[in-house]
């Protein structure tokens, strides 16, 4: 494999078609810039997904009269959203300018779209959570009564936006030149919504007694299976770029994610009979979801460091005479 120029390059030019590993570059240096995002961003992907799935569970629990699931899920949605906002702002180069995001609404920027999705999502989550937290002596006050009446419509409104919160982050990553994220564009939304559902379901299993947690267990199982199936496709179906998912830190994170998610999904089948099993399975699902996000993030970062992921697929396209 010749990554550098120097004396190898003339040979490499002739051998390039022999193996997909052969390619030319500028002294083996990266072509793209590494994402400047830090761990805040994958942490946000997890927290945002968790919040969205909790908002769905909260609305369903509200309508089907499961008060304990409703309370836990509303608080989970609120907590997930709060940490999300912290992560998002902390990752800015100029955090004090976070409100510049609100100057424009720009459909071509998934980050702008996401900003406005969160603006639509946040208030409902906030109202529903505050209504849960209101001390009983304040509930009979005029403001308390109003809040109590608003909680359901607010929760339903946020639940209507929640699928957007859970899925737009996939576009956020894929709408970049980062090879591992861009090439995964057809599959990432399903990995992310699956991961979100698994996390939200897991959260419900941890926080809510088993007799009310049935919807959480089902959501966890559905989400986990979706995540496991679609996540595997990233390893196998993205050509050269799949290597970024199959190697290094990204691989280790995602392998552990797979074990934990699969274990949690199996555990959810018996979690209806044992609270201990429910808590352990739920924690496994939460951890699996988080590791998935960190793994995918890491694969993207790695794919910008090695010029192979940029040059090999593009060179192949040019040599085949395909137009972009």
């Amino acid at each position: 494999m010749s990554r550098s120029l120097g004396r190898m390059s003339a040979d490499a030019a002739h051998q390039r078609t022999a193996s997909e590993e052969e390619f030319r570059s500028y002294y083996g240096r990266r072509v793209l810039k590494e994402p400047v995002w830090e761990w805040f961003v994958p942490a946000y992907l997890f927290a945002g997904g968790l919040s969205a799935a909790c908002a769905e569970l909260a609305a369903g629990a509200d309508l089907t009269r499961r008060p304990r699931l409703r309370k836990a899920a509303r608080l989970g949605a609120f907590g997930g959203l709060g940490t999300s906002m912290y992560f998002l702002i902390a990752d800015l180069g100029r955090p004090e300018r976070f409100h510049h995001m609100l100057r424009v609404a720009k459909p071509s920027s998934p980050m702008s779209v996401g900003t406005w999705i969160l603006v639509a999502y946040g208030p409902g989550v906030g109202v529903a959570a505050v209504a849960e937290l209101l001390p009983s002596r304040l509930r009979r006050s005029r403001a308390g009564t109003l809040l109590g009446a608003l909680a359901r419509p607010a929760g339903l409104a946020s639940a209507a936006v929640a699928p957007g919160v859970a899925s737009y982050t996939a576009v956020l990553l894929s709408h970049t030149a980062v090879p591992a994220w861009n090439e995964a564009r057809d599959r990432l939304p399903f990995v992310f919504t699956g991961s979100a559902a698994a996390a939200g379901g897991g959260f419900g299993m941890v926080c809510v007694p088993v007799d009310e947690a049935e919807p959480a267990r089902r959501l966890a199982a559905v989400g986990a299976v979706t995540e496991l199936v679609t996540s595997r496709q990233l390893d196998e179906r993205l050509g050269v770029v799949s290597e970024a998912y199959r190697t290094g830190t990204a691989h280790r994170l995602r392998r552990w994610s797979e074990y934990l998610t699969a274990g949690g999904a199996l555990g959810s089948l018996v979690a209806g009979r044992s609270r201990a099993a429910a808590v352990v399975s739920g924690l496994a699902l939460l951890a699996g979801s988080a590791l998935q996000r960190f793994g995918i993030f890491e694969a993207g970062v790695e794919s910008t460091k090695d010029p192979k992921y940029v040059v090999v697929p593009q060179r192949r396209r040019v040599d085949r005479g395909e137009q972009a």
Binding site: S25, R30, G60, V310
Partner: protein, 315 residues
């Protein structure tokens, strides 16, 4: 101004008009002809001085005469040096100009008017060549950085170039990952994204950008993009006639993945050899399909969330 598919992908005749300018000057750009670049780095220096860019630290990269390495938040021109084995040319211009003399002439190492090696015949020359190229922001017709900027800090100027407004940028870093050329970057300690402005301030005063002004060989040519494209085509023809068949243009084609570059190049080898992506595509090309996939995933997510509340309890 109408927004259509052409606003995001494919050839676009009037970039400034598409961005909303009703009256605007001609689109301008750079044609960097690397066949005459001598690697003097005057462009790097002129850019640093005019734009008051911070230094990158004293960093010897140990790979060539290039110690800048790549374009960055603080280096808006970057001269690449490629040391390459190259077989002696069948009919090189040098050979035509200075036919080989008797091989037994003794070389005393004195300065002469002949090209180095011309006196001995080319069979004794080493198979080696230098490629030099001054890289810069491409000011794409469809700019990945501009499309993804969530604050409006990045904007299309009346000249058709792409510029960051430093008082708006909040350092979200999305442009850094949005650029298919790896040009724009966030400045450490500053937190904002920076890149070549094609000397927007100078353009406004009718001046050419500092790098083009400083270039002693006219390797960097500035002007209306249409003229530059025509000039570049002629230059490639000339080089091909002289037997330099590897000369090719990079980034001039409006049908490429970014709708053509505002700053394009004449290269003497494949783009990746210069650290350039062979076939860059603006991520926005797939925005529609990405959002529809996300829509399907979102619908499935919602359907799952509703359905888990129905049906017989298994407990």
């Amino acid at each position: 101004m109408t927004v259509s598919r052409e606003s995001f992908f494919g050839p676009l005749d009037d970039v400034s008009g598409d961005a909303g300018y009703t009256e605007h000057p001609q689109r301008v750009g750079f044609f960097t002809d690397t066949s005459v670049c001598i690697g003097c780095k005057a462009c790097e220096v002129a850019c640093k001085e005019w734009n008051l860019l911070p230094d990158d630290g004293f960093d010897l990269l140990g790979m060539s005469f290039d110690n800048t390495g790549e374009l960055s938040a603080n280096s808006w021109r970057h001269v690449a040096f490629i040391e390459q084995p190259a077989p002696a040319r069948e009919s090189s211009p040098a050979r035509e100009a200075a036919p080989a003399r008797e091989a037994d002439a003794v070389d005393l190492g004195l300065p002469s008017f002949d090209l180095p090696g011309a006196g001995t015949g080319e069979e004794t020359r080493t198979d080696f060549r230098w490629l030099m190229s001054s890289d810069v922001c491409k000011h794409c017709t469809h700019a990945g950085c501009l499309d993804v900027c969530p604050t409006g800090a990045l904007f299309r100027t009346e000249f058709g170039t792409v510029v960051v407004q430093e008082d708006i940028c909040n350092g979200c870093g999305y442009c850094v990952s949005g650029c298919p050329y790896g040009v724009i970057d966030r400045r450490e300690g500053d937190g904002r994204a920076w890149k070549c402005t094609m000397c927007y301030d100078r353009l406004g005063d009718g001046l050419e950008p500092a790098c083009a002004k400083a270039c002693p060989t006219d390797s960097i040519q500035f002007g209306p993009l249409d003229e530059l494209r025509e000039r570049a085509r002629q230059r490639v023809e000339t080089l091909h006639e002289r037997g330099i068949t590897e000369a090719r243009l990079y980034g001039e084609d409006p049908n490429d993945g970014v709708g053509g570059d505002g700053a394009f190049f004449l290269l003497l080898d494949e783009p990746e050899v210069y650290g350039l992506p062979p076939d860059p595509v603006v991520p926005t090309r797939d925005a529609g399909s990405m959002w529809s996939r996300a829509g399907v995933a979102a619908a499935a997510f919602a359907a799952a969330a509703v359905s888990v509340f129905f049906g017989r309890s298994r407990r």
